[in-house]
Symmetry: C2
Subunit: 759 residues, 2 copies
């Protein structure tokens, strides 16, 4: 499982893209794959290292000041740069922008868990060296990032000098063509002290406004070479390690640069912790670290196996996406998954509904401990969500912010941000999905139910009774080309689901005698539960008799239809070319909205209605959002549109590797990556986890010979294999399970083979 | 007609308020009534002089960048300060914040057209002086502002020294408690050159970004005193005139300070023009200037007479408001009426729909030349409105900006700004109203019809046909507590009216053989006129069967009703205490919306529907906008709710003089001032000008003995007198007119007396 790519030093766009594609992350820290030695002048680079959940506050000026508008946002902070390694061969500095590249490629190994560069370079004076560089963000020691840097003299011998830097004078990225961001505002982390401890260096930095500390500690070990000297000195904003010696012809010098990242969110004394982590890592040594990295990934792929025969391009893209999810997801309740993971500064490192609806399913079914962390993050942010609800005028409940790091709203434009109340339903859905997949009732009692109750309360306060129905007004659904509407179908469905499960959990907790002290803590009464129940049953769900579909909202169908076929190609994405009011006034969708509801809340819905609805919205959806094609693929699969399903799936799978949206340089699209996996598992295989058990409606895309994947369901690990003719279910571990295939019930004891239905 | 007020030097709030209340303006320039000598340290003052239509550009950062959002606004510029006069008696400087005030009052004379201060002051050392200061913004020489400054030595004689300043180092006002506005951004006008010409001084300044020039020229004349010396010197950002001499006991020294303001919007060489204007003014002399000022006002009041017997407080408030309108309204097509006139910097000097709906009626019926200018201003801005429509995605027509100076949109928050498309209907309504009142068809052919056609085109592009009706979606009506809705009743009515008159004017122009070259210029075809007509007839107007009222928009009635009675007093105005989303989700109105439609577009509406509607909306309207109570008063009058009508009227009449909204320091509320007049003329007297003629449904508020007012209707000047028992109509000049009173037709030849209907 390797992904390799030639380095094209003469293609600045490719260089920038590859910084993202080959970044290293482990859910706690992320380091973009910048060249250690830097770039030639004028070559754009986004040099960055990030810690999940570490933020600074940034003032956000509103053009007009209205009550409650957000005036301070959070931004993910670029932390100290530990990547720098400059190499001098005699008087010549190694650089891919001088001399001659005889070979240069990047590699990502998803089984061993490293990225690397393999280079053969001839200096301007003719010295030839081989460089083998590996970089690891350790999955087992989260604070650790290390670089394994080998230089082999191919045709010469002589002096070699290395300058390894540890720099605290870092800024966040600003597009040089964009004068809107003042330079000074990008300096978020300021070194408080820099010091050395033998060859190791420590930088303690503080964020400019949020009062967080970050400590980075760097140490070095050298193997090979002759007459090696090594010295480290600190200066006010960083430290520098100089390594000198002689390299003989045919011999290799190997530098191991260990970098440890800690922060005051998670450690009481992050400097002391960094020292301890650094000593532990150095004493473990590279080989042990590689072994534990490989072991971790072996376990991961064992549970998350996904193989496709006959379509290697897709297969590797899907695995790439899954690997990136593992790199991106937070490992504790202080962080979650940013829209761009830990790979870049796009969307400022904010967490969105993406986590719950697009990524949580993958973890819930493959590595539920991570899924549980993601929910725990929301639980830890519940108090901020309660405050947010008050700010929005709600007397009860919690309202999760549309985009955030530490729990406070960061939306500058509330009609397409804060107004997306469905995020509450999304959080509730992820709790329920986690519960159904894992059966982890303990977690529900501890954290999940409180989330579901507080989200449910908000609907009661936000909604209104009108002529016998319960309606929700003035919200924005997932589709951001239509804002602030009444009775968005997805939102109302999602609220209904939330209310339903609030009632269910209440009774389950009561029966299990686990209702208190939670009910006491949040003052939850049976009377309130009755209200939930009444609102659930009376929830207004727009339906259009004439078209036989669910309108996206009360007024959607009475708008003009946007003529997508007649819109020039260069006008996409529409949001960059049309005023929001113009978009809002048309039937045009940025992404799946009602179609998403037809997947998530399919129960009790007539398939022919879903078919009409799908075909209706397909015509007016631009997929300008990366959260769209995967959902269309799933619903196309459900409806038997296999070719379409495959096409939508392919768009999703290839998005980052082929940079089809043109902005992967700013980071990967994590939600879409989750969507790719969903398009296979929920789409082609038709998997559903419901209260009544596990359901499958498998099919296979025409270009594929066969495919198989694994899921963890409650206490079992199950492999689902689908060939052109056969569905093969294998219980790899755990107890027997009831599985419904094409509507018919089976018991999976060891293995089960069933005929696949034709197209 | 004088308004007098004691000066309370120990009440900083009152001082600040009076700077607005006693400002001088003439529609071209405005000067706040700042003390010539300045204030004690720590006393807040907003020192300002403004020119109608002179603006600078200011960057407006959007929290999130979306296509088409406004990123540059215009702001009215504070121009050079010509007010400064410091007086020294021996070594003592005159100041109301030292010594002893024996008498100090401000005066506004609305027949003579000046403001003034009458002061008797005893210096710390016991010198007593009388100060009589008059200030005039000339109605007949628009560039001229002058100060007539007399000092009488009451109990001493000795050296007197005056320093009169002319300062170019001026800034716009920023609230010292508001750190959001960076100080440097307030410096909008930068002196280019300062020079003297004898005792006169000239400052030519340029705006920082909009490239406009302003020239101010100041000269002095001194009468009285002994051994007077006078010298002027310029410095880089201004000039200073020093006057010295001896003042004998009982004698008066009179200083005349002439200040002239010109700009490059209106003059090719504004410096030369200023010189000429200054020489003309000085050679005319103060007495002649006073005479022409009084003559101008005599003519104004002759046509605009409004007298109330038995309610002096109201009567003087109403006259005050009318006078302020005369001070505020632009006299050419480069300026209009700012929300705060020329009296302060509130709303940044922007023009809104206020002009068309609240102020234009007053001028149309009392001084139609000014009414015509206001429309000509919109006509001059038509090209910008066309560009605005394109930016908003419309393929045809013009869309007037919600707030502007030079014609480009300045709304920072489009849902409550740009989305108020009704401004197009408002412009069209003002054109039609002007035409009906004046019969000035020539102006329609020249400018009015083009406005009406281009506004009408926009509705066709913005609206949509849906199941046989023509609907308008995604707009905001007048009520800013409800944004971006479908089929706002007021908007649709207003569009319907616009379309109706586009068709009418088309045929009228055609019949008069005046259709070309306009139709050719804007490519208007008979086919397009047919479309206008179809849309007019099919216009969807929301109606609720159950309540028997017009809903404010499609979804208004299904929202929760806001409990106004249960809302704490300190929560008003709501917009300062509730998030917009929360407001939008409730039935709560900032101001008259459907109720405004019931006044403006009353034709064909059943009175009982209007009654139900009025009572319904009254319950949920906060009148947080100053544009509301006057409209409620008019409709209350129409429905016979006389006490209510009077109460609403009183709220409107007293708003600025009694600072009931607490923000008159930032400027007067011009729209409300027009509304006060409308509440009498359209409200109590029930006047309407329709195509079928002039209508009256007169009544009289209980506290009044009688009242009378005059209007110019076509070629006639008519006085309408209403006592407890009798309506007396007098044709003061012009030809006979048909007038309908209480639904019955009469011909007014000379005078007509009819019995007033009882309550």
């Amino acid at each position: 499982m390797q992904y390799r790519k030639k380095i094209q030093a003469d293609d600045p766009g490719a260089l920038l893209l590859d910084e993202t594609l080959f970044h290293n992350a482990n859910g706690y820290l992320g380091v973009r794959s910048n060249f250690e030695e830097g770039y030639a002048e004028g070559i754009e680079t986004i040099r960055g290292s990030y810690i999940n959940g570490v933020y600074d506050f940034v003032r956000m000026k509103q053009a007009e000041k209205l009550y409650g508008l957000v005036e301070e946002k959070q931004t993910m902070v670029n932390v100290a740069d530990t990547q720098g390694i400059k190499l001098f061969l005699g008087g010549e500095e190694f650089s891919l922008f001088s001399g001659q590249i005889l070979r240069a490629e990047r590699i990502l190994d998803m089984e061993k868990g490293y990225t690397g560069r393999h280079i053969i370079w001839r200096s301007p004076q003719g010295k030839e060296v081989r460089m083998d560089i590996r970089r690891v963000a350790s999955f087992t020691r989260l604070p650790l990032f290390f670089i394994d840097y080998s230089v082999t003299a191919l045709n010469f011998q002589g002096n070699l000098r290395i300058i390894s830097t540890h720099r605290g004078d870092v800024k966040n990225y600003s597009n040089p063509g964009d004068p809107r961001v003042a330079a000074e505002s990008l300096r978020h982390l300021l070194p408080v002290r820099c010091r050395t401890e033998g060859a190791a260096s420590f930088i303690v930095s503080e964020t400019s406004k949020s009062g967080l500390l970050v400590c980075t500690a760097v140490d070095h070990a050298v193997e090979g070479g002759r007459g090696i000297t090594l010295s480290t000195e600190a200066y006010p904003e960083g430290a520098k390690t100089q390594i000198g010696g002689i390299l003989e012809k045919g011999k290799t010098l190997r530098l191991l640069k260990y970098a440890v990242f800690t922060d005051s969110l998670r450690w009481e004394d992050c400097e002391e912790a960094a020292g301890q982590e650094l000593r532990d890592a150095v004493s473990a040594g590279a080989d042990a670290l590689y072994r534990s990295q490989e072991k971790y990934l072996g376990e991961f792929w064992e549970g998350a196996l996904l193989e496709i025969d006959g379509d290697e391009k897709c297969a590797s893209a899907v695995r790439y996406n899954m690997y990136q999810l593992l790199q991106s997801a937070g490992r504790d309740d202080r962080g979650s998954i940013a829209a761009k993971g830990l790979s870049g500064e796009g969307y400022e490192g904010h967490f969105f509904w993406d986590t719950e609806m697009y990524i949580e399913p993958f973890f819930t079914l493959t590595r539920s401990a991570i899924g549980r962390n993601l929910i725990a993050y929301r639980h830890a942010a519940l108090d901020e969500a309660r405050k947010n609800a008050r700010l929005l005028g709600h007397k009860q409940g919690a309202l999760f912010p549309w985009r955030t790091i530490m729990g406070r709203e960061c939306s500058g434009y509330f009609p397409a941000g804060t107004a997306q109340y469905h995020i509450n339903g999304d959080v509730a859905w992820s709790v329920v999905s986690y519960y159904l997949a894992t059966g982890d009732f303990e977690f529900i009692a501890e954290k999940g139910a409180e989330l579901v109750f507080e989200c449910a309360r908000l609907w009661i306060d936000a909604g209104a009774w009108y002529r016998g129905t319960f309606q929700i007004h003035g919200v924005t659904g997932p589709d951001e080309y239509t804002c602030m509407v009444n009775n968005n179908y997805y939102t109302n469905r999602s609220a209904q689901f939330n209310l339903h499960w609030a009632v269910r959990f209440y009774h389950m907790l009561k029966n299990a005698q686990r209702l208190n002290p939670l009910a006491a803590k949040i003052d939850l009464s049976p009377r309130e539960i009755q209200t939930f129940s009444r609102a659930e049953k009376a929830m207004y769900l727009p339906y259009d008799e004439e078209l036989g579909i669910n309108p996206q909202d009360d007024s959607f169908l009475s708008k003009k239809k946007w003529d997508l076929a007649g819109t020039p190609k260069e006008d996409f994405p529409l949001l960059l070319h049309y005023h929001p009011l113009h978009l809002y006034r048309h039937q045009v969708c940025k992404q799946a909205d009602t179609v998403l509801a037809h997947f998530i809340f399919e129960d009790g819905q007539n398939k022919e209605l879903i078919r009409r609805s799908f075909l209706y919205y397909e015509e007016i959806t631009t997929h300008d959002s990366s959260l769209s094609t995967c959902i269309f693929s799933i619903v196309a699969s459900k409806l038997g549109y296999r070719e379409k399903a495959y096409r939508y799936f392919g768009d999703s799978a290839m998005l980052d590797l082929y940079d089809t949206h043109g902005n992967t340089k700013d980071g990967i699209h994590t939600a879409n990556m989750g969507g790719t996996w969903m398009a296979i598992v929920y789409g082609f295989a038709g998997l559903r986890i419901k209260e009544r058990g596990l359901f499958l409606n498998p099919a296979i895309p025409d270009p594929w010979q066969s495919y198989r994947f694994r899921i963890r369901y409650q206490d079992s690990l199950i492999q689902i294999g689908i060939s052109k003719s056969t569905l093969t279910l294998t219980l790899l571990s755990g107890t027997e399970k009831h599985i419904t295939v094409y509507g018919k019930s089976y018991t999976l004891q060891k293995t089960l083979a069933l005929a696949l239905r034709g197209p």
